[in-house]
Structure formats: structure tokens, C-alpha cells
Symmetry: D2
Subunit: 353 residues, 4 copies
């Protein structure tokens, strides 16, 4: 089979591989729609997870089951499925501790295009199929469904970790696709005022669609000053970090009220430290909580998110600005994520014929 | 001053009283808009809280500050304010324990038309004004603002106590005004499917507006059977009890999945017991949690709820089906709540000239 | 192999069966120590779970691994292990929802002597061995270790569900072995005053050892009256139900402060309903939360509990009043649980030679 | 009246002042026992809170009520009382948000020897007496009671913020008096293994008394290496920071498992930043939560802590290594905290005659 792969750091290309073999609990899936992620760019062009040789890229897909292992009960060839980016080993002690994302090691619930071939192949392997696949409802378009597997679950996890109360004011730093879903997630968790921090017009418009009541543009001045000015110097109840570099933590603490929460869902790929400003952190005494975590994956999560789409609570389609048809466009779509043209939020490649 | 009062059980009428005297931390407020509540009906016509003599009725109001005590810092005569139905004694040990609703005794945070004269007077008294009043934003219509003080905070508390997760399925039993706000609250907390249980067409229509995806009519069969049928026999993740009698707890447990939560915000005025069905409660082992509580009051709550209206998260105006102009219509409005005509959800009396 | 079994309702006896076959993820274990449970009595003599034919009894054991399936990684023959009473299917959607106890159905995480042969056999079968076994530390005596698998995890779960704060006052209704562990658990979670409700002198003495500061004897009067008298009419912050019948819920609500929690870990085997008294439940408004759940099982739980013993936080040995040596004494031990002599808390049968 | 004061940075001395005037809700209290705190040293000799002129020092006291305002209901002259170091304005919006410590501003619940004269005077002023005083039980020695007001509530808050589960492994960095109470608090919240980090023999011995199972001495090597070695490279479930400088946060993250919590109750007086190490924080994705907060104060907290002493859950007296008799010894006691002789944990001055 063919796949679009990282050949090594800074090098991508098509590779020919054997179809993955599956075990008793696994499934073989062919993609119906895939989407490249900024993480794929970090992986290939920044070496964020180290070198890899001929590893097929991609971790965002919905697909069709082609083959299942002997112990798989709920899925059969032909089933159309949502495939979460995070596919944990459910038989691991970390699951018992409540953190499937870290099954068998910190962040190790993330397998596709990290420890094993990703979803940009003609076929891909899914472990624990009954636990890691979810039926894709017929009435959700492929473009929307493929947003659930990473963008929605990640952005929403930012809102969940932020522990939003009804009416809380929330600042979302970064309004790329994850940040936009953090905005939508904050609205869905009951936020009142939502301040989005970003600059690209295409994102600003969609941020307002998803619930941002204010936009702060970092190109127009220090965001700490701007947000304090908007809030009479008081700051906000919650901050979600969904973009920017290591400096965002300092900004987040500075705009946060005592008793507030900072929640990070941005992958920090560089810098030795994130800095907590001592004075604004109340010399350690301000009850400003700092959280951050990899998005939840697995079947139940995907079913819950799909229900939000089915019952009209969320329309993820506004994230998708570019749609390609045909597997061969995966490369082009990936390069869009690298080049970030002005009108891009997320590209999707529809493979279904 | 004049007020519309409970003269005794089953008897109402206008009374003439002295304007309330205020202490150092208190305020005197005149109502700008009031709304009668089903509780007023229970109080007068069912003797739910026992007998009262010439007690002015009403606990739902927004108003204008007329006078403040010497220690009041944040409000002054002329300020337009939201007045929560629950006005706790903030200097009480229960506040320190996290339950202001029960300040100085179970449910004793509820004072208006319970322990003291209510808001259906030309003036009324507010204790701890800096803690129990909130500025009313100019851009919220009076009809909407007066819904915040009880209907919204109560219905939303149902959603809060239910501990809804993103995508949870929720049944709301009862879709009167509190139940409708439980529907809206469930949506705001991230529910997926929301099943409203009710029968009156006016309420059904508004329930759909606020987010109900399904309606179950108890006149068309047992609601337990109907909801199990709708959910492939599995039941729902959460149940909010916002209407009905003591029997609703049994129904709620029967339609709830293991690990689920029942949340009650309905005032149960009759019956010796609510019954928990042993088998469906897993013989005590099913992790089906039962909660219930009086709505939060106080200033911060009102400010948070007002923000939800200001930032477009909630439009409470759909609750208001009947609007009267003039203080003298309070009696007429109250009787509407008693008679419940077909097209009624909530009446409001606008007093402002 | 031999096993002591329920032959049918009200009939017990030794049976001869094939050694259980194990699958790829399973283990075969031989018991080193077992303990009969009141549930075994309910099962056989009250038909609590319905009829069973020749089902080997028992769900409390520690043992030695005899054989493991091909996919078991962490255990091998000869390993000495703690075997939780609750051995869930970890590949189930309920695990993803946070309730392994209800994997594949309400209470269905309980398999031994319920859906399959229990631990009173020469050998028994353990599903998902890597997830459901825990190494038994050498320095924990067998008598103590076998208390962890049900008595400790159940009693402690009562304390966990009760959401105890530092200094909370707690009443524990029932001071049999589960109730005693609820007392110990309440102390370990930081309770201040702990009121144990019971009457048997052997239990009273041990309750004081585990942390009860007061004892209320139901034979000396109504326990509601007694506990209200002890607490100046205010009641307690938390109640754990670890014994008694359906009437305990009513008592629990009556002695609970507003904002409090009732937590049930007693298996309620009879009665159609448990009753919530309307008035004392604040007409549904008192924020008196009611919880109840089957004890956590699985490997991580056993490791955490074993650590509590290893680090001197808990000495479960005081629960064990009768020790037998030799597998053949299982019947005698079980009958003790039925007859409940005056000096009994729990019997243990040591099988190791 | 006389008081021992900060005359300015680096200067202390006795001053003569008017007795404080009290308002309607306040009380005037004379100390029965006081204890100097490291914070007093930071205040005077490091200028931690800026300059102060003739401000009476001290915030740890138990005392006797001398006079009460007209609105004080529960206390009267002659009552013996526990006086929390944190005495919030209970009529503040932050109380409604659940953070009384930050009433009217970040950390502003701390008043004594910060915004107003402290407790090292012949008399001192207590705001909101009914809310900020607690009866001192007769059976608690003064030395123990005075430990509750800051050391116990602070150390225990470290354990509370750490969200300890039954059996969690906990490292406590710093085993001065606050750290020792964090050890005791961790044990009271159900920790299994507790690793204390410190070096002074007097503290090591008392740490073991309060529940430390292991001691790591930072003088014997890097504490991160030592703790990882003790835990097979896995680290611990929870870390409480109760001493050390800004570098402790980095250490804490490095020894923490994914899904863990770091809880800070150390006042960080210097450095611009605390540093979160990016890689060990899982690039922002490890679910390693960071919390920190000022200790709870107020009446309810003191009553709950006093109950822990009354019911034998805690013996704070082991913290007190030096006892003086007579008010005039306040200076000597304070200087002990500055000089930290080898055998010191905490000094107490008993004033009662």
C-alpha cells in the first residue's frame, strides 16, 4: 500500500509498505477523510518528537473498517467509523488512574504518526478497536466528523480543564483551529464573556461565529495590557492557552484573577521553561491553578462529541476552509499547513469515491 | 405604602404598611418589574410554609435603590438593580461551609415572602445590600432581568447539580419556567441530547427553543417506558427534576444509567417521602447520585447570570408570555399563576413609568 | 478440582469440577487465604442474586499464580497476588466513563460467585490478569491482605463517596467489618468526630481502635434522637451507611446537616424502596446529597490499599477474629458468617501449607 | 498599650499605642499565647511586604475577648478564643466566589501584621468577630491551640490542594513547621508513602512522628535524583511545596507522575519567576496540575481544626520546641525564628498568668 511519510527530519515523500497486520482486538481501517495537523509539521520540519524513518504521517481521520480481529465484537468490515487521534492501550494502569492519555507512559496514548504509522496511508491499524473506534453517524458530513478526532477534542479539553462556571469570563490565547474549538468549548461550558486573542482575519471571523465576544490582536499591543484594559484592570476568571510560545503562561497568569484557572492545550515544542511570574502568582498564594493535558481519545469521547454535532450544539464545519478530493492531495494539504496561506484554517482531504 | 399580601391561608389582598426601616448595611428598593412565582401560590393557597398574616408576597423583582444604610459602599439611590430571590445573611457559618442558601438554617437564605415582606410592595427591604444586589445592565430588558432572580438561577442550578459533561444526555422532568431554564442550563453546560418531559404546547415550543431535542408527553404513556424506548433501553446520563410530585424521584432513578446523577430543583410540597427504587438503584451500589438544592442567590450569582444575557448566551424573554403595566396588576398576574391558562408560562408586571 | 459451592438456594456442599480454562489475558490462581463474606450468605440463604446451580462460592482471596495466558506480561506462575473481589472487563465503555464497577452492566464488575465460580475452589480464574491482580507485598500477613479485597475497599469507598473534609463529623451506621473499615476510612480521610452506630461489644471495641470517638447503640433508643442529642440538635456533616436495612436512608437524612452527604456501601437486599423523608430533605432543596456505589476493584486500587498497610496507615488485622488452617475449613468459616457468634467479626481460612 | 513592632525595614522595637477602637461587628482581644512566624522575619528583615512604620508584628495568637461591638452575637468578654491568621472581610465578592483568602484583593484576607497591627500587642483588633473567632476548647493546651491559626491550616491546605487519594504517594519539600503540618495533613488525607525532604535532625524526627515514611536530605545529593531512585524512576503522585526557593517548582514537576498535582503553600519572597520545565511538564500535555494558595482562615476552619485535635487526630504540640512565659519574651522568641538554632521548630510565648 501507499502512504505519505516522513522520510526523515525535513523530508517527506510517498512510500510503499505492507498493509499493517492486525491482532485479535485490532481493526484495519481505510481512510474516508483525513486532515493534516500542525503537529505533523512540527514532527517533520522541526523534529519535535525526534527523527523517524519512513513513518507514515497523519493522525486525523475518519474511515471505513476493512478487517477486524477475532475478538472485536462491535465493528465489522464496511462500518464507517470515527478514529480518535488518541488511541490508548486500555489495558494499562494509567487508565485505572483516570488518565488514558498517558497509558504506558507520558503522552503515550498518542500513537499515530508518533510510535506507529499514521493515517495518511491507504490503510491504517487501530488497536483495541471496540474501545478506540466509534460509529460515524450518517448525518454528519465527513469534513465535520474528521474535525472531532483532534481539533474538537483538544479545544474542548482546554475548556474542560479550565473548570468554567456559568458566566465565567474566559480568555482564549490563540485562535487557530484548536483555539477556535476552545472558544466553542468555553461557550458550551457556559462562559459569559469570551475574549479571543489572535490576528488573522479568517480566524477572527470564525472566532466570533463560535462565541468570542471580544477579540484582542497581539499586533496592536501587549495582550496583557489590552485584556486588563478591557476588564477594568481585574482580568478574567479563566484562561485557555491554545497557541503562542512559552511566554503565554506568563501572560495568562498576569490576566487571571485570584482563584482562577489557566488551562493549556498547546503543544509547547521549544524553550527550556515556561515561566510563572512570582508576584502575579501571589508569591505562590493566589489560588491561580495551572493545568494542561493531552486531549481525551477513545470511543466514548468520540460518541459524546458526535452527539454534540447530531443535536446541533456544535457545527465544526466552519473550521474547514480547504477541501481536496482524492488521496493524492494529502501532500498538498499538508504543505498548506506548513505555508499557512491567509485564508487557511484547516484543510481536509476527502478520499471516499 | 401599599403591598399585595397574604392575609392568611387562602386569602390575599392589598395592605397598607409602614415603609421598611433599613439598617447600616441594608437598602430600600422600589420595584421596577416583578413576577409572581408558583411558590407564591403554594404559600397562599396550599399553606406550604405555614400560615402568615398580612405578609406581602413576591420574591422576584428588579428595582431601583431608594435609600441605603451608612455602611453600603457600592450602591446609591437611583441605581437600577437586580434583586435575587435568595438574599442570605453573609455573616453566617453556613456561608463559610459553602452553602449560603442555608445561612442561619436550612433554606433560610430565602427571606422574601417567607420570613419577611416580599417584593410586591411599593418598597421593599434588602439585607446586606453590597452582597445581595447587582447592577442591572441597561441593555437587558426588564422582563428578561426579572427572570434571572429565580427562574434562571433555579433552573441553571438544576443543570449545575447534575454535573453535566460535554455530550451528556439529559432528561428534564417538567418544562414549566424552571424546567425550561433547566433545559437552557443543560445546553449551556454542554449537554448533547436533551429530553424534555411535559405536555403543554406553549411550553413544548419554548423547550425546543431553549435546546430540547426530544419531548416526552406524560399524557401519552409512562415516561419511564417512553424514555427507555427513546434510548434503546439504556436511559440517560443525567436527570433534572423540575416539576411533578414525589413520584418523579422513582422515575428519575429508573431512567438513569449507572454512574449518573439526578438533580432536583423542584420544591416538593407534599407527601411524607420521596422513594428510591431499590433494584434500579443497584441495591445501593449503582453510583446513581441524588442531589437537590435551593438556587444560589447573592450578588456574584446575579452578575454572572446577567453576563450570560449580555454576551448573548441566554435570552430569558421567551419565558414571559404575559406583560402587565402598572403595580395594580400584581394581583391579576398572581391569579394567572393560580389559574394557569393554556398560553401562560410566566407573567411580568412592569411598574416603571 | 474441589470447590465449596452453592448447590441451589439454601443448599451448599463440596463439588468436583474441571480446573478453569484460561484465555490469553487471564490467569489461573490457587488461593492462599480466603474469607467468606456476608454476601455469600445472602447469595445462598436468601437467594439475593437468584438461583445458581453448583456455583463455587467466595470472592475474597489472596493467592498464588499457577498459570498465565500468552498475553499476560506482569505476572508469572509462583507470584503471590492480591485478588480484588471486583474484577472488571477493562475493555468496556463503562471504564471509559469512569465506572469500572459497572463494566458491561450495572454491578457487573462483580464476577466471582456471581457470574462465575468464586474463589472457594482449589483454583480459580482471573480475567485481565495484568489489570486485576496486584503483587502481594511480603510484609503483609495473609490475614490482613485478604481483608483488602472487599472489606477495606468497600468500607473505604464509603468514606470516599462521603467527600469528607478535614474535621468533618461523620456517622457510620453499622459497624460490622465493612462499617469498621468505613470508620477507618473516615479517619484516613480526615474526619474529626466519628460516631459509630452498633451494638455488638466485639465490634464496638474494634470501632474505637479504628477511630470511632462515640458509639451509639440502637438498642438503647432511636438512633436519630441519640445522634441529634450528641450534636446539640445539629446533626453531622456526613453519614456512611454500612449496615441496617432500607430504613437507614431515612435515618441518615434526618441526622444530616444541610450541605451534607450520605454515602451508602451497604448491599440492600430487600424492600421495594429506600425512603427519603421529604421535610428533612428540605423539600428537595437542602443540598443533602445521596450517593452509593459498589467498591472499586482492579490492580491499581489493590496497590494503593496495600501501600496504606505497608506504610502503617492501616492495620486490617483487627477485623479477623477467627483463623482456620486448611482449605477444608471453608465450610466451617462460611457457617460462622451465617451464625454470627458473639465474638465474630471476620473469619479467615489460611490455605498455604 | 505596648506592642512589639516593626519600626521600619530591619528595625524592631517596643512601641506604645492607643488600644484599638472596635466597630459594631468587631472584637478586642488580649493574647493568651502567641507565636512568631517566619513571615514576621521576612516582613521585618527582608522587606517582603514593603516598608511599614511602627506596625505591631505577629499573626499567630489565641486570646481572651475583652470587648465586643454591639452587633457581635456569639462572643462576650472573657471568652477564650482561637484567632486565625487570616481574618477576611466576609462581606466581599471574593467570598461569594469561594476564595475568602482574597477578600477585597489578592491575599488581602491576611490583615494582621500586614495591613493592620498584629497580635504582639497587649490587645488586638479582630474584624467580623462572629465569623473570625472560634471558641477554644478547654482541653486543648495553649501551645497546641496557637499552632492551629497558621501552621496547621497552612500545612493542611497544602495537603488539601494536592487532592490526595487513599494510598497516594506524596513528597513534601521542606519540613519546617508548615512542611511538618503538610506531612501530618497528607497522612490525614490518606496518603500512603510520604517522603519528607529536609535536613535538620529535629525536623526529621518530628516528620517521622507526623507520618513521613522516608526522608530525603538535600545535602546528600540532588533531591530529584534521590526521589526518582526511591520510586524506581516513576516519581510520586503528589508534591507539596512547603519550603525552599523558586527552584522547588522545577524539582516538583520533575518528580511528579503524569496526572499528578503540585501544591504550593510556601511564600515565595524572591526571584522573578518560578520555572516549569517544559519537557517534564509533557510539553504542556502531561496533566501535571500546579496549585498554590494562602491558607483558609475564619471561624469554621478553626472549629474544624480544633475538632481534629479534640478527637485525637492531630497533636500539634510536637511543633513547639521552645516555650516562654511572659509577654516580654516576644522579642526573644521572634529572634529565635531569625537565628534558627539547631533545636528549633517553633517557639511559643505564653502570656496568660
Amino acid at each position: 500500500m501507499k502512504g505519505f511519510a516522513m522520510l526523515g527530519i525535513n523530508r517527506t515523500g510517498w512510500v510503499e509498505k505492507e498493509k499493517p497486520a492486525i491482532g485479535a482486538y485490532d481493526a484495519l481501517v481505510k481512510p474516508l477523510a483525513v486532515s493534516p495537523c500542525t503537529s505533523d509539521i512540527h514532527t517533520v520540519f522541526e523534529g519535535a518528537i525526534g527523527d523517524r524513518k519512513d513513518m507514515i504521517l497523519g493522525h486525523e481521520a475518519v474511515g471505513e473498517v476493512v478487517e477486524v480481529g477475532s475478538q472485536v465484537k462491535d465493528f465489522k468490515p464496511g462500518d464507517r467509523v470515527i478514529v480518535p487521534a488518541i488511541t490508548p492501550d486500555w489495558l494499562s494502569i494509567e487508565v485505572q488512574k483516570g488518565f488514558h492519555q498517558h497509558s504506558n507512559g507520558m503522552l503515550a496514548g498518542w500513537k499515530f504518526s508518533n510510535f506507529k504509522d499514521g493515517v495518511f496511508g491507504e490503510y491504517f491499524h487501530v488497536n483495541d478497536a471496540d474501545m478506540n473506534l466509534a460509529y460515524m453517524p450518517d448525518d454528519i458530513p465527513l469534513e465535520s466528523a474528521v474535525m472531532l478526532v483532534d481539533m474538537v477534542t483538544t479545544g474542548f479539553h482546554g475548556a474542560e480543564l479550565a473548570d468554567i462556571e456559568l458566566g465565567s469570563s474566559v480568555a482564549v490565547i490563540g485562535i487557530g483551529p484548536v483555539g477556535l474549538m476552545a472558544v466553542a468549548g468555553a461557550k458550551l461550558k457556559g462562559a459569559g464573556r469570551i475574549i479571543g486573542v489572535g490576528s488573522r482575519p479568517v480566524c477572527v471571523e470564525v472566532a466570533r461565529f463560535y462565541g468570542a465576544s471580544d477579540i484582542v490582536n497581539y499586533k496592536e499591543g501587549d495582550i496583557v495590557d489590552q485584556i486588563l484594559a478591557l476588564t477594568d484592570g481585574k482580568g478574567v476568571d479563566r484562561v485557555i492557552m491554545a497557541g503562542g510560545g512559552a511566554e503565554t503562561l506568563e501572560q495568562a497568569i498576569k490576566i487571571l484573577k485570584p482563584g482562577g484557572v489557566v488551562s493549556n492545550v498547546n503543544y509547547h515544542g521549544s524553550g527550556e521553561y515556561l515561566s510563572v511570574p512570582r508576584v502575579e502568582w501571589g508569591c505562590g498564594m493566589a489560588h491561580k491553578t495551572i493545568r494542561g493535558g493531552l486531549c481525551p481519545g477513545g470511543r466514548n469521547r468520540m460518541e459524546m462529541l458526535a452527539d454534540l454535532v447530531r443535536y446541533g450544539r456544535l457545527d465544526p464545519s466552519k473550521l474547514v476552509t480547504h477541501v481536496f478530493h482524492g488521496f493524492e492531495h494529502v501532500e498538498e494539504a499538508l504543505m498548506l499547513m506548513k505555508d499557512k496561506p491567509k485564508d487557511l484554517i484547516k484543510p481536509v482531504v476527502i478520499i471516499e469515491k
